[in-house]
């Protein structure tokens, strides 16, 4: 029987990894993700999980250890937060380019300076273009789901890509929520054993990662790009199976809330979606025609789905919890891609972005009301005044 438990995001991640029967785990301490490894270390120590638990000497080593393990044929897991995520940056392209489908669980954290324990998406978002699947979870339940779904999609031979499974530090990683733990047999039905096409095995010798000539580079880049293009169909298939086997109703790329007849919407991902949901409900009570669209995958970016979902609104406010200094939109990362997704529509909504939740700041209800007010004014005026609003730090529009 499936069991309902109350778990933090980190504990839920560890439970998912255990049910995925990960075989090699590599740890290095940094808050807040380290709670995942603390859970897994206990499971290995008390014999609940038969895995090799390797203490990496840093994040770069963590990723390297799991790369070696996954290349040799074992399901591998690592994770990190903040500057740990960026310290390992060298390894991300070799792993994705080598098409090694290991998983990295990120409980995000602001980058230095100054030292800040708080949640922010910038750490993982800075790594988004290396060829890894990537998405944020809103709740511990969703992080549990995403671990299993990402292993399944990443390990599929039509994809073979590593996965960043992200959750907001503290807001998800350390706040307990309801998680339904399925039966092991359900997980086994959903997730086949790890099966790399060409593992390192003296019985079948193979070379991983030889040097190429410049004219061979484009071909390999195209293959990595194609894997990302092929991933959406595999994601849909996996989530259909997940919903069937686990009795769930997850939508693959976008989740909409109160968008019917909405004139405007928040476009958002991760933990703050929960507050945004409450804000939308309260605003609806006051007659404000607002809804919410939650993004589940940053990579592959669901361009078509976003165009379809957002085309029905007059104005969209993109809630950014990451920074992109000097970019076209002068603020976060998401608005660039939202606008690009809308470009070919005949009828485009107005768009602007809201810098909120940086450095681990809460995004309280009143800030969502402020954002909604700016969107309302834009709808009335038929235009937006700015690309970006630093919420709470600029005078009223």
């Amino acid at each position: 029987m499936a069991r309902e438990m109350v778990l933090s995001g980190c504990a839920a991640a560890a439970q998912a990894a255990k049910m995925a029967q990960v075989e090699v785990i590599c740890s290095y301490p940094i808050r807040p993700y380290s709670a995942i490894m603390m859970e897994l270390a206990k499971m290995v120590a008390n014999g609940e999980l038969d895995a090799e638990f390797v203490h990496g000497e840093g994040e770069h080593a963590q990723l390297s250890v799991v790369l070696g393990a996954a290349a040799a044929g074992a399901r591998a897991l690592t994770g990190s937060s903040g500057v740990g995520v960026t310290y390992a940056f060298e390894t991300y392209s070799p792993i994705a380019g080598g098409r090694i489908p290991l998983q990295m669980m990120i409980a995000d954290r602001a980058l230095d300076p100054p030292g800040d324990f708080g949640s922010e998406h910038t750490d993982a978002m800075s790594c988004r273009d290396q060829g890894w699947l990537m998405g944020w979870a809103e709740t511990p339940q969703e992080i549990f789901d995403n671990c299993l779904i990402n292993y399944r999609v990443g390990e599929d031979h039509r994809v073979l890509l590593p996965q960043f499974v992200c959750q907001d530090g503290y807001f998800v990683s350390h706040i307990p929520g309801k998680v339904v733990l399925p039966e092991q047999s359900q997980v086994d039905e959903f997730l086949p054993p790890y099966d790399l096409p060409h593992p390192l095995d003296p019985k079948r010798p193979v070379s991983h990662g030889p040097q190429i000539r410049p004219d061979q580079g484009t071909v390999m880049d195209m293959q990595r790009a194609q894997a990302m293009l092929d991933a959406p169909a595999v994601i849909k298939e996996a989530i259909d199976d997940y919903n069937r086997i686990f009795g769930r109703d997850i939508s693959p790329f976008l989740e909409e809330y109160m968008t019917e007849d909405a004139e405007m919407a928040f476009f958002i991902m991760g933990a703050h979606t929960m507050t945004a949901r409450h804000a939308v409900r309260h605003l609806r009570g006051q007659g404000v025609k607002i809804g919410l669209v939650k993004l589940r995958f940053v990579r592959p970016w669901p361009t078509q789905e976003i165009a379809e979902a957002l085309s029905k609104f007059k104005a969209v406010g993109v809630v950014e919890t990451s920074t992109s200094y000097g970019g076209a939109m002068q603020g976060g990362n998401l608005l660039h891609e939202v606008r690009a997704s809308l470009y070919e529509l005949a009828q485009r909504p107005l768009t602007t972005s809201f810098m909120a939740g940086l450095g681990g700041e809460m995004v309280p209800l009143k800030e969502f009301y402020y954002m909604a007010d700016i969107l309302s004014k834009a709808v009335k005026a038929g235009k937006t005044k700015k690309h970006v609003y630093w919420v709470g730090f600029e005078a009223e529009d």
Binding site: V44, A61, G73
Partner: protein, 326 residues
């Protein structure tokens, strides 16, 4: 939890004619004529045999070897970044342990060998190498030492000798000797601080039977082992490519290179000359030292003398007094 999975006992060989004929490092690479590292690779691969996985951090033995569709390895090989040879090997070993335990692979734990250059061992790769040694992974880390970053155009590394002319240590009027620092000592770094390590040895391409036997001994040990192999580089050291072996032998005869095994705290020395030749004889054959004055050579001689004393080897060549003030 961890089970012992390696029971192999690769036998030592006595004579060069007993060296196995099978090659696991075959033609198909693009190394220079007289390449010391390529020669040791061939010998190491022969010694290890077919149940082997090589990890190749970036360096000459990657760049000049592993060309797509014509790599010279007939056993599994995986590129590592120059940073992480020890970590990749750790992961492979961890994977094999769990896969063998779960019955997903059969047979013996493969020989897992990191083939790293000096930069990939004691410079940018030091952290990963040290961690592999500390964590007691059953793998062999080899440092093929050609004493510089050579595939990038001969830049100084931590094992480049004092006084060498490299493209990052060119001699000039302000810095006449070129490289001013003395080199790191890789095997001593390993021996000094890694309690899990049971066997460390130095070897040289000049003595192939000794090299093969040290590789086999290292692979028979359960746990991490380390070999430091001297590999002259005609291009980087600027000598006639026909003289690779002669240079390697002279290094041992002058004390520039010491041949020893360290096994659970006990040293055993090999090829120790009765009387050491002056280091000048080794240095004069190499263009990288051509700019040095007698004072510089004396400094190198004093360094070698001190190092030999450290090993308890009596020094029979007195350091010549410098003739000129530096």
């Amino acid at each position: 939890m961890t089970v012992a999975v390696k029971t192999q006992n690769l036998p030592p060989i006595k004579l060069i004619r007993n060296v196995p004929k099978e090659e696991y490092y075959v033609p198909g690479h693009r190394t220079c004529a007289g390449c010391g590292p390529a020669l040791q690779y061939k010998l190491v691969a022969k010694a290890a045999g077919p149940n082997t996985i090589f990890v190749g951090p970036t360096g000459c033995m990657y760049v000049a070897n592993a060309s797509y569709l014509c790599t010279p390895y007939t056993v599994p090989w995986m590129h590592a970044q120059i940073t992480n040879g020890g970590a990749i090997a750790s992961g492979i070993e961890a994977a094999y342990k769990v896969l063998l335990r779960k019955g997903k692979r059969t047979g013996e734990l493969p020989n897992i060998i990191v083939m790293a250059g000096d930069g990939g061992t004691v410079d940018i790769g030091l952290q990963a190498m040290s961690a592999m040694m500390y964590r007691a992974h059953d793998a062999l880390f080899i440092c093929y030492d050609n004493e510089a970053y050579t595939n990038t155009g001969i830049q100084t590394s931590p094992t480049t000798p004092y006084g060498a002319n490299t493209t990052f240590t060119p001699p000039g009027s302000a810095i006449p000797e070129g490289k001013t620092l003395f080199p790191k000592d890789p095997p001593q770094l390993v021996i000094g601080g890694h309690p899990a390590v049971k066997y460390v040895a130095t070897a040289s391409v000049a003595y192939p039977v000794d090299l093969i036997n040290k590789v086999r001994k290292a692979l028979n040990v359960q746990g991490p082992t380390f070999l430091h192999i001297h590999c002259p580089c005609p291009k980087g050291w600027k000598f006639d490519e026909a003289k690779t072996i002669e240079i390697a032998r002279l290094a041992i005869e002058t004390g520039m290179w010491n041949m020893y095994e360290w096994e659970e705290g006990v040293y055993r020395y090999q090829f120790r000359p009765k009387k050491y030749k002056p280091v000048r004889e080794y240095m004069k054959l190499q263009g990288r030292f051509a700019h040095l004055t007698e004072a510089h050579i004396a400094k190198q001689q004093a360094f070698v003398d001190a190092k030999l004393k450290l090993h308890g080897i009596p020094v029979e060549v007195p350091a010549p007094a410098p003739r000129t003030q530096q």
